[in-house]
Symmetry: C2
Subunit: 763 residues, 2 copies
């Protein structure tokens, strides 16, 4: 085992020239991308990949995310700027993140011919996302329909230094064009969620200088103010404002000759009434104070440098994996709320309309570890979001006939349950499909408790646990008392009618091992928290007892449930049965379906899959992974091996849930199944970059991003936690020369620099 | 009885000066309206009535309808232009009429101050809808926030002479304003159905002169082209085009001094790919050919004159009723397809989003009689729509496990069933309500047959019956064979599990008298049509038999069902039981609820209402009305009297269905219940004008409009049909001096000029 180094020199900046050298020499191309160590480069434009690439090239700053649609638009483009917490009502799924006014539009017209990629000819093209600074750039050499040749160099960023500031730049160069270039810079108030525009126009006008737009969501009545200023360098030119309703625009016209260039900068500010009482005033004030584009970008670069200092991961010997891990972490960083504890990361981040901006267990179980171990303040923001949604969780419990707090399977602004009840077909004769997760996938409450416990273990943030965490853990524990059932015949507690982690089995699922053990674990920790609070903060304990109507009676019920909750583990075989009767279901050999391109549920039908021993995603194995970090029951390497051999071959790891591959990568690494571990790791790493599942158009797979980091640290790094801090037992994939990352642990940073040649000692 | 006069001089124009005299002398004001004989006048602007008045001031031309929203916009306005047949997909309700690009926008700015009614001060205001010419005008004297006084006189029309041509005009006069007036005339491609924009932008540009916009529906892929041209009179002024995406705009600027005026005209053309293969080309070509605004309006005026010549109704002595009947007929005329037999009139016409542009029995039973008797070619268009949707009706039958054609309760472009299955709450814990009409309200198929028969009886249009009508009547009759059940114990046919006309009773409704008798009647007529076709058009009969797989076997089944279908009529009491067991339900005395302002279903709950003898709308009485015209079973004045006395007091006529009042007015007139008849008549007449039910914002109550005409003709006029044509037995309300209307009957026009002083002979 390699002991983590406690490096005081950690805070030094990485050597940029060295890193640049790698970028220059080692590149890999796939899916029309070139991967370098810090940049993702697209070398040709393929309209068939329009929506996939819009997702991939999402930028953001923890306040908003903006998809990589073009400044000049494109037919059927799905442009989106999503801001944390800006929810509005929508039928069937209750609420969704409203697509905010588009700050990107920049229309460039050459003697009346508007630049657009679906007309004229693309002579050269490169789009590049620089992960180190969050800069998205695009270079296009374009021949207009009438034959003029021009170069356009766009770039944009959302400032990580100032979350209300955004920048777009375009350098326009003439190769053989002679004439007038018109540049229209607009704010587009007609942004839409797949056709639906959540905004009412309130007002708009001229800023001094610039333009502004004030809008309000239809139902939730959130106001948004956006302001923008166009500037032109290298030319004297008048800028005019036009005020078509909902589309304020600044226009300038410049004479251009061959060999000449002009650069236009558009800086934008945005606020909502979630931050300030008068967002349009705030946007205009900030716009007036904003520095010019270059200085704005410099501040952003510095903020990114600071962020990567804590969160970067280095892989040597595998440039695809190196780029992919940085890319996946980049996507998590840009959607993590930095200054807002009333919001959290949604399943599809701020990058697309999938799952409507709703928050799932994905956040606590898959995404949060990266933040807990590298930017714990952001992890705390997201856990505090759960605290602020406790009232919604209480309403849900009450509506379902239970006590305490029962977290929503899908959670939005209030914490009320917003999982749709129905999937409704467009075919008027198709069957409506009832979605049962809201009713049955109850493990979410234990998942939240798990993340809180982990955060507390890593940070020792007792103040937060006292003020926020304890109330969450205890009131959800109160819920479990009302949810478990006492089977008097077998003298045990049971939890019936659930959906476990594996969603292929929805009906009549009783005593799901994952759920039952997570609940038992939750109650074990609730007792510890309860006792700790009493011991250290008796006043807070008393207040909380009054608020939650807690007495020692509940504590003893928790203990009774912990002692008697049925966990279907067979100590003779070491096998854990996924739920009552799982082993009696018809068996399946997935090798017979090797050539498929669909999920097993698509192939067998919902009922067909539910009657077979086929899993959408790890369930027993997921439990073993979660119990692995602190080596708790039922985790042991032996148990893992037995259950891996049983469940892994029965799991739809290719087309089932995107949550699966990274988890399998960790466990396979644990079991020294090096090839399998690497294959699963890359499957997770490429889910968005290479659109492995064909659904990247609807947004980043955030759980997969977070799982990837865990696979790297806990799988290939083999990190486990001890009383002395984290220790590593590396299982590096064959071609990796080096794996370097750092972890925060109780006030210190632990840097791990794992080398392929440093053979780990035998276990 | 007064025999209808067969007037050859009928085609003379009414004396305009005489009519004008009435308008000048007799007016009534209500709900901030002044009613004259031909004009509806609003004398003050009340933002609280914004959406109601937008509906009321809808104009149209049988091709499109445009709500009465303001040219300059208003916060939270619900602007809409709906074009027949332009459906697009939408969740839950499958498909809806897409709100088309808005042709109205005209923004007028005085020295930078934009004219808008929510700012500045309204010094004088009048909005007027001239029913005789379809011209909507608005005169506003406005003081701008900075104090300038100006007059604005807007007017608009959708040409009835050329359904692809529209016009907007504004005369701008300065009272004390000195400075620049900027006028922006736009096409707005961001129109929306309550937030949802069905359109993809395809292209846009400059016309010569003018602007154009090309869009396409997202899913149904219907293309729409719109073009517009702004002209300025009384001033020389340059007109510029700006091309913000989705919002092409022409702008002109004029210098204005006190006492000066300028008039701007905007003429607009619109086509969709439902009419022409290249709609944007067609729109531009027509725009180039279009005459100036005044000539365009003259042609429209002539077309309206021609239409009213056939359809006008004169009431003397009651100006509210006079205006109301013309207003209601106006609303029917402007939504009746004149050149398209693939579409029909929706429940809310083309005036709002209620019921999403879907077609119900409202059309055949309530609306069509007006057209059958006054503009039969339009009635034929709408019945032919049902022919074109037969394949959808066949798919519905097949999906439901039946044979033949089963018409959709809600029908759109294909005729497939588009009634939503669910009403979904916005409250995440609210109950989803299953809507059963699609499954159970099956009388629609007999209603269509009824309308076809009536059309045939009135017009003797044998060619249409041969080519279209027969197939509808026979294939729906095939459906009934598969739908009825044989009760062998009682040796009778039954129809179980239906919803009748009364929608307060939805579950376990068997042998609804209305449904059973309508089916029996339908099959009686099917046999007649079958025999008629064989006798007169044996070749067509043979073709149809092959197509529908009809043999004499079906004919004898029809006869057997006619003979043995159970009709719950008690010849001893003369009472018809609404359905099996209705008389056993808990009784109710609606007088105890006199002060209510809600429907009885709102008060009692869905289940509460279903367990009581309370009706949403006439059911047995509806049947009696439908059998009245040709005096068929079970209609007789005696039966009517008995059933009226039973059912009328149990019907929620105030807050139940808006389909009820006009029907009750007819039957009350029949029974010489003069006061009741008039009260019900005015209740129907004012449903939209006075927003009697509080839901006029979502569109015109078309069935009520059509029912009103029937109440006038068949109720107060007492018209019945005989072999010699229609005869009248008037029951005029006390204050009416005269009732004048005309009916088409088998090639001739019959004018009825009924006077209060011409006492009808005793019955």
């Amino acid at each position: 085992m390699i002991k983590a180094q406690d490096l005081s020199e950690f805070h030094q900046t990485p050597n940029p020239s060295q890193s640049r050298a790698v970028q220059m020499t080692e590149t890999v191309s796939a899916c029309s991308f070139i991967y370098t160590d810090w940049a993702l480069i697209e070398t040709q434009f393929d309209p068939a990949q329009l929506h996939h690439k819009e997702t991939v090239f999402t930028i953001g700053n923890g306040y908003l995310g903006s998809r990589g649609s073009f400044e000049e638009g494109y037919p059927r483009a799905v442009a989106a700027t999503l801001i944390h917490g800006v929810f509005d009502d929508v039928p069937v799924v209750y609420t969704e993140l409203a697509n905010c006014p588009d700050w990107l539009p920049l229309m460039i017209t050459f003697n009346g011919e508007r630049f657009r990629l679906d007309q004229g000819e693309i002579l050269a093209y490169e789009r590049r996302l620089d992960l180190r600074s969050g800069l998205l750039s695009r270079a296009v050499r374009w021949r207009s329909p009438s034959g003029s040749k021009v170069d356009l160099n766009f770039e944009r960023f959302a400032s990580l230094a100032d979350e209300h500031a955004l920048g777009v730049r375009c350098q326009i160069s003439s190769l053989d064009f002679e004439g007038l270039v018109e540049v229209q810079a607009s704010l587009n108030g007609y942004s839409e969620n797949k056709g639906f525009n959540h905004w009412e126009q309130v007002s708009q006008g001229k800023a001094d200088p610039g333009i502004w737009l004030q809008v309000r969501t239809r139902n939730s009545r959130i106001e948004l103010g956006m302001a923008a200023r166009l500037t032109v360098s290298e030319a004297e030119s008048a800028i005019e404002v036009s005020n078509v309703p909902g589309y304020p625009t600044q226009t300038t016209t410049v004479q251009l000759s061959p060999g000449q260039s002009v650069t236009v900068d558009k800086v934008v500010t945005v606020f909502t009434s979630r931050q300030v009482p008068d967002p349009i005033q705030a946007a205009q004030t900030k716009l007036a104070e904003l520095p010019a584009y270059p200085d704005l970008f410099k501040a952003n670069e510095r903020a990114w440098e600071e962020t990567w200092r804590k969160s970067d991961v280095v892989i040597e010997g595998d440039i695809s994996a190196q780029l992919a891990i940085r890319y996946n972490l980049f996507q998590l960083i840009i959607c993590a709320p930095r200054h807002d504890e009333q919001v959290s990361i949604a399943a599809k981040t701020l990058s697309g309309f999938g799952y409507r901006g709703h928050v799932f267990w994905d956040t606590e179980i898959f995404i949060l570890p990266f933040f807990i171990y590298s930017q714990p303040a952001l992890a705390r923001n997201m856990l505090t979001y759960r605290y602020h949604t406790l009232d919604g969780a209480r309403r849900k419990a009450k509506d379902s006939g239970y006590k305490g707090a029962m977290f929503a399977w899908e959670s939005a602004d209030t914490g009320d349950e917003v999982t749709p009840r129905w999937a409704l077909p467009t075919d008027p004769y198709g069957a409506d499909i009832r979605i049962w997760c809201r009713d049955r996938e109850i493990h979410i409450s234990a998942d939240v408790a798990y993340a809180i416990w982990r955060y507390w273990q890593v940070t020792r943030d007792d103040a937060w646990m006292r003020d926020y965490g304890a109330e969450i853990i205890l009131d959800t524990a109160v819920f479990w008392i009302s949810r478990v059932e006492l089977n008097t015949k077998d003298e045990r507690y049971e939890i019936r009618d659930v959906i476990g982690a594996d969603e292929y089995h929805e009906h009549d699922i009783h005593n799901n091992a994952f759920t039952n053990r997570m609940v038992q674990w939750h109650l074990e920790k609730a007792i510890l928290v309860y006792d700790w609070l009493h011991a250290h903060f008796p006043e807070n304990a008393a207040q909380l007892e009054e608020k939650l109507q807690l007495t020692s009676k509940q504590r003893s019920r928790w203990q009774d449930i912990v002692n008697n909750l049925w966990i279907p583990y067979d100590s003779k075989t070491g096998l854990i049965e996924q739920f009552d009767g799982f082993f009696n279901l018809e068996d399946i050999d997935l090798r017979e379906y090797d050539s498929r391109t669909q999920s097993m549920q698509d192939i067998l039908g919902m009922e067909g899959a539910s009657k077979r021993q086929v899993l959408k995603q790890p369930d027993v194995l997921m439990l073993l992974y979660l119990m692995r970090e602190s080596q708790e029951f039922p985790y042991s390497l032996e148990t893992l091996k037995k259950n891996w051999n049983y469940y892994a071959p029965r799991t739809d790891i290719t087309y089932g849930s995107s949550l699966g591959p990274a988890m399998h990568a960790i466990l396979a690494a644990d079991l020294d199944l090096s090839e399998e571990a690497y294959e699963r790791f890359m499957q997770a790493a490429m889910v968005d970059l290479e659109n492995v599942r064909g659904n990247a158009d609807s947004g980043i797979h955030a759980a997969s991003c977070g799982g990837l980091w865990q696979a790297l640290v806990f799988g290939f790094g083999g990190v486990q936690l001890t009383q002395d801090g984290p220790i590593a037992t590396p299982h590096l994939p064959p071609k990796w020369n080096r794996l370097k990352f750092k972890l925060y642990w109780r006030g210190d940073w632990h840097e791990f620099d794992l080398r392929a040649d440093a053979k780990p000692p035998a276990l």
